[in-house]
């Protein structure tokens, strides 16, 4: 109550619980975005988003154009995949993707022809203000846009107008709270116009009255750039503001950011739209602009290449499907001995076992860290001394050490009772743990086990039903036969007894 009152008065300073302040290491914050050259081969996995995988639309030998749809979405939570450049499909087979399992996924291999010809079947839409919202939404879908903030959730799903949950606020997530990463930062510095344009499109699509661009105070130039652009635009009377927030991890997480901006928590099991908000990443917003205004499907993204082992750090505009080895090579890193390569930021990204993996829509960054960096994080696990630092750091209000115990012991019901499924895997707890306990790892293990159990239960239930229906069917058939036989027996000589019949 009181907190709320203060927030209304504008006294809010750190309104989300927990959080940490890691060393940000934003070494590439002033490196302008460079364009990464086209690699000799592009490997396009048929699933680059959260949801169902796509199915291929091309055959080996087909020639494709940049932006041509090469795999179509299957199901609702899915977006199509497009050819990142023009060239020839040389094979379609499984290839490793950025995934902690190291497993592969069906991918389309494209040999660029170097011409980079665009498929121009999609028309630019310049007067989107007057367009039907549904058509715009369709455009965002067919352009294959999935959240570029890291989760790669199909964006079109979020861009709806729902009478019951009117969206009041669109939040642009320019927080970029992960150490090392600077791609959103550079986008805001260099492409503020496009971002603002994209934001206007989003606000139009969801019917929001208010737009907020949230930026942490360690990105002075981005704040300046966005503020200037907004000021210019606000001449048009738009209700869009830049909100500067103190630097704190994981402020970029949607739930935390929403709490900070509007002072309300997204209730468990509900979505941001239930509190009248949608939250989009900077890169996603720019991609929406390009999809709508330019008619470009999503075929490239900006990513940060950094880490102490990368000689030539920077921010690159990379075609989706580019091999990471190729990117590292571009930045002068070829020998990976003793290095840790990470896909995404150091707090949430996956460690990759080798660099022969293509860039996908969720690739926010590519890091290569030397021993010095990760030996601390992956040091020998010691017993928990229950210092409570993890609980203090947790933005969700969990008790990670107790939760980890339950996960380790596979006490899944208890883990669920301790809100395992509310954990956003931000890693703040593991980061502060003096005993170097891989807490997040335990949570992932627990979640995986729980999913496994659920699958098994569903399968068992289905099997039971099939088995029961089979039993009743057989019984019915038997009954029918018996009835028939009875009739026959009534007219003919004695036949074998019922019991014997039944036994067969």
């Amino acid at each position: 109550m009181i907190k709320h009152f203060f927030k209304k008065l504008g006294f809010s300073s750190a309104p989300f619980a927990g959080g940490i302040q890691p060393d940000m290491q934003k070494w590439t914050e002033s490196s302008a975005i460079e364009i990464c050259p086209l690699p000799p081969l592009l490997i396009v996995p048929m699933k680059q988003h959260i949801g169902q995988a796509c199915s291929s639309l091309v055959k080996v030998g087909d020639h494709v154009l940049r932006g041509q749809k090469i795999a179509k979405a299957e199901g609702y939570v899915s977006v199509p995949v497009h050819a990142p450049t023009s060239g020839k499909v040389i094979k379609i087979e499984e290839h490793a993707i950025p995934h902690p399992s190291g497993m592969g996924l069906a991918s389309i291999f494209i040999e660029p022809d170097g011409l980079d010809e665009r498929d121009t079947s999609l028309q630019p839409i310049t007067d989107w203000q007057n367009m039907d919202v549904g058509a715009l939404r369709e455009r965002v879908r067919v352009c294959g846009i999935a959240g570029l903030g890291g989760a790669a959730f199909p964006t079109f799903i979020k861009l709806v107008q729902d009478q019951r949950n009117p969206i009041e606020t669109v939040i642009l997530n320019g927080i970029e709270c992960e150490p090392f990463l600077t791609n959103d930062h550079r986008l805001m510095v260099e492409h503020s116009q496009e971002i603002l344009h994209g934001m206007k499109i989003i606000m139009h699509m969801v019917g929001a009255k208010q737009g907020i661009i949230a930026i942490e105070d360690n990105k002075a130039d981005a704040i300046q750039s966005m503020q200037d652009t907004v000021d210019d635009a606000n001449i048009e009377g738009l209700n869009i503001h830049v909100r500067v927030l103190p630097t704190r991890y994981p402020q970029g997480s949607e739930k935390q950011l929403i709490e900070v901006i509007i002072g309300k928590q997204v209730p468990a099991g509900k979505l941001p739209m239930h509190v009248g908000v949608i939250c989009q990443n900077i890169g996603t917003t720019k991609a929406i602009y390009e999809a709508v205004v330019l008619g470009y499907p999503l075929t490239e993204r900006v990513m940060t290449v950094s880490g102490d082992a990368v000689p030539n750090k920077g921010n690159l505009l990379v075609r989706l499907g580019t091999s990471m080895r190729f990117i590292y090579a571009q930045r002068g890193l070829e020998n990976f001995e003793g290095l840790q390569i990470l896909h995404g930021g150091p707090m949430m990204g996956e460690r990759l076992r080798h660099p022969d993996i293509p860039v996908i829509k969720s690739s926010t960054g590519l890091l290569a860290l030397s021993q010095d960096f990760f030996k601390q994080a992956h040091a020998v696990e010691e017993p928990c001394i229950r210092c409570g630092h993890c609980s203090e750091a947790c933005p969700i209000g969990l008790t990670p050490n107790l939760l980890a115990d339950h996960c380790r012991n596979e006490q899944l019901e208890k883990a669920a009772d301790y809100h395992l499924f509310d954990c956003i895997e931000c890693g703040a707890c593991s980061y502060v743990c003096p005993s170097h306990i891989p807490l997040v790892h335990y949570f992932r293990f627990g979640k995986g086990q729980a999913a496994q159990v659920r699958r098994e239960q569903n399968f068992a239930e289905a099997s039971r039903q099939r088995s029961e229906s089979r039993d009743t069917r057989i019984q019915r058939e038997k009954d029918e036969k018996a009835a028939k036989r009875k009739k026959v027996r009534a007219t003919h000589a004695p036949t074998p007894t019922e019991a014997e019949q039944g036994k067969e």
Binding site: R408, R444, F445, K447, E461
Partner: protein, 194 residues
């Protein structure tokens, strides 16, 4: 003396008679039917219907466990987790499972060899095989519980058991490789297999 003995016998005898009557009456008054226990146990079983427990399917095994006539550790496909869950419901000490859990398998019919005799269809307890007489049959991998009951009846031995394909979506994080996690695991295992 004897009088006091008489009193004693009368008092305690009377009291015992009273207790006996109370118990007898209440056992009549409070008699209850049915046992939801076996439903509970059946819900825990994997429904593979494989018969490895020595019963013709999961339900009969559940009934047997609920009536306390058989141990909790006979469901092989269910593995340790199922055993522990049943032991918990029954309130008994966990026991080692008969055999180690194997990798999940599904049946696969080599279609060119199948003569369409439908014998496997009749054997499959969960209707996981489809096909009409004289045409080749197919196993619906998603329905197959891997119970191997269809192998035996096939006259031309055209059914194989193949490993259930592992899906990326079904991958899950293993326990950390740290010593603590591993010793915890060992401890748990040795505890259950004692």
């Amino acid at each position: 003396m004897l009088e006091s003995l008489m009193y004693a016998i009368l008092a305690l005898g009377g009291f015992a008679l009273f207790s006996g009557l109370v118990l007898a009456i209440s056992s009549k008054v409070f008699h209850i039917e049915g046992d939801p226990l076996s439903d509970k146990i059946d819900a825990l079983l994997p429904q593979t219907q494989c018969g490895q427990c020595g019963f013709p399917g999961c339900r009969p095994y559940a009934d047997a466990v609920a009536s306390n006539t058989v141990d909790v550790n006979h469901c092989v496909p269910g593995g340790e987790r199922t055993m522990l869950a049943i032991a918990d419901v029954m309130g008994v000490e966990p026991k080692a499972v008969d055999e180690e859990e194997a990798t999940p398998m599904v049946a696969f019919i080599r279609e060119d060899e199948c003569i369409g005799c439908t014998l496997c269809i009749k054997a499959c307890p969960v209707d996981a095989i489809v096909g009409a007489p004289k045409q080749y049959h197919t196993v619906i991998a998603d329905h197959c519980t891997g119970c191997v009951l269809c192998l035996e009846p096939c006259p031309v031995d055209c059914i194989d058991m193949i490993a259930k394909p592992e899906l990326l979506e079904h991958w899950s994080w293993p326990l950390p490789d740290t010593q603590r996690a591993q010793t915890g695991l060992e401890r748990r295992e040795s505890h259950h297999h004692d």
